[in-house]
């Protein structure tokens, strides 16, 4: 382990160089908690000045890594080359909005495909559950296409809408496609 001053942004935030936006965001929130004021985890190891200096480095690293363009430039500057597809698949910023390819080209979207979409964003199921307050078991039924276990359509529609919002996708784009799938396969 190199001293902090020689560490890369990834090392400072303790994430891998292929970390998704979601992972970077989570690492940053944890770091703020760990090295921020009133943290019982760090005060006995670091002085107040050291904590401030760590926090500054974490802020700088976060601002670079959370911005796809800056991150790309940074990666090139330290010699990290990611395959273009990989970079494109991680676009989970709160501003996302549109359903990405190939999902947007389809008329139908199954639960399994929604799961694929979620995983491509690097967002965990517990996280969706936290954001939507929908119990994990329902989310699992949804993702596994366990149609019998799912609630009636009215409720389901609302679940899927919340799920989509938690992914940062304009809900209608997912609801319509999912209900197409749901109505056809339920019969």
């Amino acid at each position: 382990m190199k001293p902090l001053r020689d560490q890369t942004c990834y090392e400072i935030l303790e994430v891998r160089s292929d970390a998704t936006m979601g992972e970077i965001q989570r690492a940053y929130e944890l770091a703020r908690l760990t090295y921020g004021r009133n943290s019982i985890a760090s005060y006995s190891l670091f002085s107040a000045e050291e904590l401030m200096s760590i926090m500054e480095k974490i802020d700088v690293a976060y601002r670079i890594l959370i911005d796809p363009q800056k991150r790309g430039e940074y990666d090139r500057s330290i010699g990290i080359i990611l395959e273009p597809e990989k970079v494109r698949s991680e676009t989970p910023s709160p501003l996302r909005g549109d359903l990405p390819e190939p999902f947007c080209l389809q008329q139908e979207l199954s639960g399994k495909q929604i799961k694929e979409l979620r995983e491509s964003f690097g967002i965990s199921l517990p996280e969706i559950s936290e954001r939507t307050r929908i119990s994990i078991s329902y989310l699992v039924y949804l993702e596994e296409d366990n149609l019998r276990a799912l609630p009636p359509e009215t409720y389901l529609r609302s679940y899927v809408a919340q799920y989509a919002a938690a992914l940062g996708i304009e809900p209608k784009q997912i609801i319509d496609r999912y209900l197409n799938y749901f109505r056809r396969t339920r019969r």
Binding site: R26, L30, L33, T34, S39, A41, F46, S124, E127
Partner: protein, 321 residues
């Protein structure tokens, strides 16, 4: 002090591992956790020997709901019996054996070097799959030495500032004891002793500074210390968690250790605060037997699973939704 050569000369058995539960502060649940891990492991079919290495303050047998054994570690340390297996007792739980601790003599709490070496050698010779040591509180050399012979050194903390401070102090002491063990040169040993004092005049704030300092004096030793530092990988258990913040604390401590000591600490798991631990304790029964389906008991099983698989907890939840 135990030298590296002495440790290397000790017999090793393939497929046998030593776990030690320590962590500085008293009252963090070391004995409860040792006993519970022992039961959970025995239930998985592992042959387990639990050893109460809390010399002078032994009560692991009570935590397991057993009466004081007729023979304890003091009989071995006093030389009343020659072999440590003579003080070993079978418990009611299949696969689980115990060596009760010495609780009678004051001098037992501070065994002579030769006594300690004899104890460690015979412990490592015991024919079990898992040797689980319940260590006492504090950072005395005896405790650190037992911690350092283990394959998995488990640190227990509760989510309180004093407990966390002591856990860090424990890691630091274990580190510097290990450093001293490999550095023979007097000037370097002096530097290590100096570094233990946080306000030392050389401005050594953390192990990185110390290694830098040593490396300027003697690059070869600096390199050895660095290697030693990376091979030290304690495991963390947060006990008595009451909230998500308490669980998160383990991740924060893992991060702080990485930034400060430069070591990877594995967050093996946490145990939920549970009145049933206290209820079982009051009845003199182990939690794992009395309430095997309690959340706290499940947490113990998860910890065992993580340690056996050499995994640690993943930070994958949202802090502020």
């Amino acid at each position: 002090m135990i030298s590296k050569n002495q440790i290397n000369a000790l017999p090793t058995h393939p497929g046998k591992v030593v776990w030690a539960v320590g962590g500085g502060k008293g009252g963090t649940g070391k004995t409860f956790i040792s006993g519970s891990l022992g039961i959970a492991l025995a239930r998985l079919g592992r042959r387990v020997i639990l050893i109460d290495a809390d010399l002078g303050c032994a009560n692991l047998h009570t935590a397991l709901g057993l009466k004081a054994s007729p023979m304890t570690l003091s009989d071995f340390l006093n030389g009343k019996v020659r072999r440590i297996d003579e003080v070993l007792v079978k418990t009611d739980i299949p696969n689980l054996f115990i060596i009760s601790g010495a609780e009678d003599f004051l001098e037992i709490a501070n065994p002579k070097h030769s006594q300690k070496m004899r104890l460690i050698r015979q412990i490592l010779e015991l024919n079990f799959e898992i040797i689980l040591l319940d260590l006492g509180a504090g950072t005395s050399f005896n405790i650190l030495d037992f911690f350092l012979i283990s394959d998995s050194g488990i640190l227990t903390v509760i989510p309180e500032p004093t407990s966390i401070e002591n856990a860090y102090r424990f890691i630091k002491s274990a580190f510097y004891r290990r450093f001293k063990r490999i550095a023979r040169e007097p000037e370097i040993r002096e530097l290590i002793a100096l570094a233990m004092d946080q306000k030392n005049e050389r401005g050594i704030r953390n192990p990185h500074d110390l290694i830098d300092c040593v490396a300027t004096l003697n690059p070869a030793v600096g390199e050895r210390l660095q290697k030693e530092m990376y091979s030290f990988r304690p495991k963390l258990v947060v006990n008595q968690v009451r909230s998500k913040d308490d669980i998160t604390l383990g991740f924060s401590m893992r991060s702080s250790c990485l930034k400060y000591f430069g070591i990877k600490m594995d967050y093996a798991g946490y145990i939920e605060y549970d009145d049933r631990v206290w209820q079982a304790g009051k009845r003199g029964r182990p939690l794992m037997i009395e309430y095997p389906y309690a959340n706290s008991a499940r947490c113990v099983e998860k910890i065992v699973d993580n340690i056996l698989r050499e995994q640690d907890l993943r930070f994958d939840f949202v802090l502020r939704p």
